[in-house]
């Protein structure tokens, strides 16, 4: 007689946070951003010049950096189009941002309910959106091999400054973005596997959870 083992399963509803196409798009942008950061830092500060070795030396890094930038700009356009409407600022976002102290202190109970993206995520989106446009245009002006003879020298000099300032702002935003994913446990899974639990949505994006539940009814 075989005894049956009773399994008590904890029901943990999962929801799709990012679909496969969104995830693929995000990681193409992310890998480009990392490669651009590594090669760009090498040109920006002598302390990081050794990073050019990762790309096959200084000349190779100089050749690759702008092309990776082009790939990044094209792939980010995909993300920009996908996520533009979900990143429009609303009154709750201002309220949420006003209580940034509670956010930092993990006092989520004091925060207004959040839709698919919270105010900080929207700010990351805006910084990335404008950075990519600025970096693309200033980067083209700096691309000496093809545009060195076409762009007036004053514009090239300004482009150099603008490219570096914008890149620094973008790198700092990337650091915050990556840390936020580590800090808010379960977030990384949303972008690697696509799924989050109902509890995760209840905690971080309750308004979005209510919408999803209502939809599934």
């Amino acid at each position: 007689m075989s005894g049956s083992v009773e399994k008590v399963a904890v029901i943990r509803d999962t929801y799709t946070r990012f679909n496969a196409s969104e995830r693929a798009n995000h990681w193409v942008v992310a890998v480009c951003a990392i490669l651009l950061m590594l090669s760009g830092l090498a040109f920006f500060h002598p302390a990081f010049y050794w990073l050019t070795a990762l790309f096959g030396g200084g000349q190779a890094a100089r050749v690759l950096h702008p092309w990776i930038g082009v790939v990044m700009a094209i792939s980010f356009t995909g993300m920009g189009v996908r996520m533009f409407c979900q990143n429009i600022w609303n009154a709750d976002d201002s309220k949420w941002l006003g209580r940034i102290g509670d956010v930092i202190a993990n006092r989520d109970e004091n925060l207004p309910e959040v839709g698919r993206f919270n105010a900080a995520q929207k700010l990351v989106f805006y910084v990335m959106f404008w950075s990519v446009i600025t970096l693309l245009l200033s980067g083209l002006a700096l691309w000496h091999q093809y545009f060195g003879d076409l762009v007036p020298i004053g514009m090239q000099r300004f482009a150099g400054l603008l490219h570096a300032v914008t890149a620094a702002a973008m790198i700092i935003t990337m650091i915050i973005h990556i840390y936020a994913a580590i800090w808010n446990a379960g977030s990384t899974r949303a972008m690697t596997r696509g799924s989050v639990t109902g509890g995760w949505l209840w905690r971080h994006h309750r308004k979005y959870l209510r919408e999803e539940v209502a939809k599934s009814k």
């Binding site: 904890v10 029901i11 943990r12 509803d13 090498a42 040109f43 920006f44 500060h45 002598p46 302390a47 010049y49 050019t52 200084g58 000349q59 890094a61 100089r62 930092i104 202190a105 993990n106 989520d108 700096l142 000496h144 091999q145 060195g148 020298i153 004053g154 090239q156 000099r157 300004f158 150099g160 400054l161 570096a164 300032v165 620094a168 790198i171 700092i172 650091i175 915050i176 840390y179 580590i182 800090w183 808010n184 446990a185 379960g186 639990t197 109902g198 509890g199 995760w200 949505l201 209840w202 905690r203 959870l209 209510r210 539940v213 209502a214 599934s216 009814k217």
Partner: protein
């Protein structure tokens, strides 16, 4: 080159290590007396011959400038300007090329360690093996001198014949100038020599004759004697007060430490936040609430 004692390095691009400093090298300079130049282009030929560079045959654009501009294979070019003064035509011929600034904008802008060096004698030299071809030197230069070769994507310009100077010779252009319009020696002796020339020009009616040794770039190691030193622009748009562009100074100066501090601070703040506040984790109560929400709505 830089391993020769006679070419001790004073500054090296994208490098922070202190350069060798036990010796005090003599600062050299080339003095170009524009009032003595006859426009024969012997200097251009000597430059091509010594440095073994041949620009492609160009197109005549109706002026004497030949080639029309500097290039990766043209490190010096005579620029001819016609100017009328007191009812007389003056043919102002300026030998253009690297000025070898004391504060070189190219070196400041260069991201490749050792691609641009400044020797203790004042010569600013491009070391092509280390050059990555980014063109930042072009942006840094206030005189529009460096040119990037389409053949090898490396920057080229006048070396002031650093290889000749290292062994006690004068630059090829100075060596061959038939009128003595190009002279070479210590910077002090060249300034001295210029004073004699300026006094002579003044006695001949050029009241504004003077030395072009622009202080905006800390002085240069190629200097001009100009008949109209108050108007350098007459000489094929020679810069009146050349300085390294403010955009380049900010980009290559203030911004570097500022952004390093910004990025470092972001990482440190993140780390401190994690160890003090800890991660924001989903609780079983959250899961329960989510289940209830679904159950209630589904019911």
């Amino acid at each position: 080159m830089a391993s020769l004692q006679s070419l001790d390095v004073r500054q090296r691009s994208a490098s922070t290590a202190q350069p060798p400093s036990v010796r005090r090298d003599l600062e050299i300079a080339k003095l170009i007396d524009v009032s003595k130049c006859i426009g024969c282009k012997a200097c251009q030929s000597a430059c091509m011959a010594w440095n073994d560079i041949r620009p492609p045959v160009g197109i005549n654009r109706g002026v004497y400038d030949n080639p029309n501009d500097l290039g990766p294979e043209t490190w010096t070019v005579m620029r001819f300007a016609e100017h009328e003064e007191n009812g007389k035509l003056e043919w102002l011929i300026r030998k253009d090329g690297c000025m070898h600034c004391t504060d070189p904008g190219c070196l400041k802008a260069c991201p490749a360690p050792g691609a641009i060096v400044q020797y203790a004698n004042g010569i600013v030299d491009f070391v092509q093996e280390n050059c990555i071809g980014c063109g930042y030197c072009v942006k840094g230069c206030p005189f529009n001198i460096p040119r990037i070769s389409k053949a090898d994507n490396r920057a080229y310009k006048c070396t002031l014949c650093s290889d000749r100077v290292a062994v006690g010779q004068s630059p090829a252009c100075a060596k061959c100038c038939p009128t003595g319009a190009i002279v070479f020696g210590s910077k002090a002796s060249m300034v001295d020599h210029a004073q004699g020339r300026i006094a002579d020009l003044k006695s001949r009616g050029y009241a504004k004759a003077g030395l072009y040794d622009p202080p905006g770039v800390g002085g240069t190691h190629v200097m001009y004697v100009l008949h109209h030193a108050d108007r350098p622009g007459l000489y094929a748009n020679l810069a009146n007060n050349p300085v390294i562009s403010a955009a380049v100074s900010l980009w290559k100066g203030t911004l570097k430490p500022l952004s390093m501090i910004g990025m470092g601070a972001a990482i440190v703040v993140g780390l401190l936040h994690f160890v003090t506040r800890g991660p924001n984790e989903v609780t079983e109560a959250d899961e329960e609430n989510a289940r209830k929400l679904k159950g209630r709505n589904a019911a």
